[in-house]
Every structure is written in structure tokens, then in C-alpha cells.
Symmetry: C2
Subunit: 245 residues, 2 copies
């Protein structure tokens, strides 16, 4: 089974604090960018992989989706989802992403926000997603940017004497594989894949690439979080949209 | 008109020295990787953008191409091409890449090796290429990797006390636009585009992306050039293959 840091008590609380602050990376940068690529959802069925608190599931219903299945590996995250974001058209399921091959429903959109970098076997995941998609179905997801996941060790930014970031320390980029990082807790497992491996996997598993976005902060975001200017030196995430071929 | 550094005497001589050394980046890494993606050329027509000395034009004929047009902005490069690589099936033309819209022939393959990062208007180039391609035609090209073109100033590598490269200093990645670099001579003009801009431009101008390669050295290359191990930290070029949609 995959690592499940979100059920770690310390991680869960720290993550909740981060997300409760409305001026975080997700709300200011990643979410507006990925939502801008959503197709018309009226009457469509959606699968949300790594649905977390369920906010996106509810948003899909508000945008007209017929039904949404949200899966997550974390019992604690789903507890919050069921309590704060219940909806009769949304089904929350406790499931590891590498088990979605067992789902019997079919979907028009498979969506995932910042979760695929936790997945070891990306090609298997893509294979499973394609099987779950109806003809013409869409995959829309975000993941940590390959240069975010690349470095194996060391500080990832070089700073000047005042503590300002000068440049990102890129290393190990072409070394695909497991990485350990500290994010609230030690040894959070992620999987680094160079951008060519990501894109070629999506294509070879039967998708046509529609667009790729490296989101940057707009003026509103920069006013609220001046430190997000560093996103122009090194974007944190990448968003990819593809259609079932 | 575009910058034409290859007709600068000093640049031309230094570049010729570099390419005459058989153990250079192009021969050991870029060329094997891009050649591996060539389609079957038997009976096909090929356009080589930035053909330089014409070596690839001759190779396409050896691989069975019906005819090849090689264009280059440099009179000096074409002089070498006509002298060292003449062939009745190859036509060398002095032409700026932003003028290819004036060509009346049509091609099955448009090929380009490490030249597109000199082009200011990438979308216009792609538009022109698509018009020049027959149905089902292929675009296969390499360019400097967006990591390579990104930094506006400063040393691009951090080295340890022994002079070994530790990590690449990535900055200005999301700032698309002109860059000046020193390569034999000062102020060589290049155009940086983030990978998302590159890929989305290709898609929006009417191509389906087939594959992307970030080439790395194999054992043979590493034996001859141990310094090429740094390509695993930061790949120098990217190769993209697309089909006319």
C-alpha cells in the first residue's frame, strides 16, 4: 500500500492549519489555474483522486456535475470531507489510488489535485484512469513540478545575505525515482519523474496532450503573498490536461 | 532579420573547432537521441532548418530521402556545406528561418537541430512549418532545454572547492523572452520559453505531440566525456516530435 502521511496526527494537524489559511499556494495559484481548464461539467460524471476535504467534489456538483466519486487514502481527510462537505451526489470512498482498477463506474472526467507525485507506478495509474474514462473523457491533474521533486538532498534554494531567494538549486533532475522530503514530518515519500517521462507516459498510455500549465501568481496573489514572486524563478507545480485517445 | 552569429569570423572559427572535436555534446548526446526518433525516410521529402554544414542533409539522403532542402542564415556555414557535403538531391539555401513562408515546396519531415532557441516568434515559425508539411507530416526538432535558456545573469552552476559542479542555478524560468549569453562571443541572442509555452505553442499551431526526449549520456559518451555526468543534474537540450494534426 502507498504511504499515507495524511493519517499521521502531526501531519494532519499541520496540513489543516496550512489549508485553513486562505492565502496558501493551493488557493492563490494552483486551484485557479487548474479550475480554468475544467471542461463543461453539466450532466457529467467525475472521479476525484486524492479528494482530501472534498472541496473540489462539491465544486464539481455546483458546476453541474451529475455525480462525483471522491477517493482518498486518508481516513482522517475523509472524516472531514463527510462532515464539512456532505452531498447526496458525492460519494466519498477510502481507497488507495493504486486500487482504482477495482471501480466499476465510468467517468467523463478524472481530476486530481497535487497527488500524483505520491504515486510509485505512474504508468499503471494512467492505464487504470484510461479504462475508467468514457470515450472522449478527460484527465485533468496537477502534480509537483519535476524540478520541485528532483533534488535528492540539500537546501533547494540559494539565499542572499538578507535571506532572499537568489536561485533554485537544481540537481538530480534526470534521476527518476523515490525521494524523501520533510513536509511537517520527516520522510514524506514522493516520486520524481522528469517532464519527458511524465508526458511520454501520458501519451503512451493512450492520451492526447491538450495543454500544460506552469501556473504563476497574478497581482492579487502577489499582493497577499509577496514571497510567491519566487514562482517566476521556479514554478512549484505543473498542470496537465489530456483527452482519451 | 534574425541575429546571424555564425557569420561572425571568431564565432565561426571557434564553432568549427568545437564541432571538429568528435567528442562534443552534439555527436555524443543530441544527435543519437534525435536520430533515434526519425521516421522512415524512404521516398520522403525533408526540410532541414538551420542545416549548418549539411551533415544531416546528407544523412537523410543516405537513409533514403527523395530530396532534402537545407536552409541556413549563415553564408559561411553554407559555404562549408556546399564544399564538404554536396549532393544532387540536396539543395542548400541561404534563408532566415522567419522567411520559410516563401518556400513553395511541401515536405514530409521538417527537421531542426539546436536552432529554434534563436527564433523570436516561435508560433509564427510553427504556423509556417505546418503549412509546409504534407498531411501526416512530422516535425522533429531539438532546442536548448528551457533550464538552459532561463537564467538572465550570473554563473549557471554552483561548484565545490575542487571545481566540480554541485547544482545548477535555476532562475528566471517563467520569464519568457530574450536572453543574451556568451558563447565564444558576447551577446549571442536567444529566446527563452518555459516548457509549457513550448508545448502549448506546438499544440495550438496544429500538431499532436508524439514524444519528448531529454537526452542523457550513455556509457560510451561518459567514458569519452566524464564531465557529461552533469547532464543528469540538468539536461542541456530537449527534443520534441509532433505530427501535423
Amino acid at each position: 500500500m502507498s504511504q499515507n502521511v495524511y493519517d499521521n496526527d502531526l501531519f494532519f494537524e499541520k496540513y489543516r492549519e496550512l489549508r485553513n489559511n486562505q492565502d496558501n499556494y493551493n488557493t492563490l495559484i494552483e486551484q485557479p489555474a487548474i479550475k480554468a481548464l475544467l471542461p463543461d461539467l453539466k450532466g457529467k460524471t467525475v472521479l476525484d483522486l486524492g479528494c482530501g476535504y472534498g472541496n473540489n467534489c462539491i465544486d464539481f456538483i455546483k458546476k453541474g456535475a451529475l455525480s462525483v466519486v471522491g477517493i482518498d487514502i486518508s481516513h482522517k481527510m475523509l472524516e472531514v470531507a463527510r462532515k464539512e462537505n456532505p452531498n447526496e451526489l458525492v460519494e466519498y470512498m477510502l481507497m488507495d489510488m493504486n486500487k482504482i482498477g477495482s471501480l466499476t463506474q465510468r467517468f467523463d472526467l478524472v481530476f486530481s489535485s497535487l497527488a500524483f507525485h505520491y504515486v510509485k507506478d505512474f504508468k499503471k495509474l494512467l492505464y487504470d484512469i484510461r479504462v475508467l474514462l468514457n470515450d472522449g473523457g478527460i484527465l485533468l491533474y496537477s502534480q509537483e513540478h519535476p524540478y520541485t521533486t528532483a533534488p535528492k538532498v540539500g537546501p533547494t534554494w540559494t539565499k542572499d545575505e538578507y535571506g532572499n531567494k537568489v536561485h533554485y538549486n537544481l540537481s538530480d533532475y534526470m534521476h527518476s525515482g523515490k525521494r524523501y522530503s520533510k513536509w511537517f514530518i520527516d520522510n514524506v515519500e514522493k516520486y520524481h519523474r522528469p517532464i519527458s517521462e511524465v508526458i511520454n507516459s501520458i501519451i503512451s498510455e493512450g492520451f492526447i496532450i491538450n495543454s500544460i500549465v506552469e501556473p504563476v501568481p497574478d497581482k492579487y496573489a502577489l499582493d497577499r503573498r509577496p514571497d510567491f514572486k519566487d514562482e517566476f524563478d521556479k514554478t512549484t507545480c505543473i498542470i496537465i490536461k489530456g483527452t482519451k485517445a
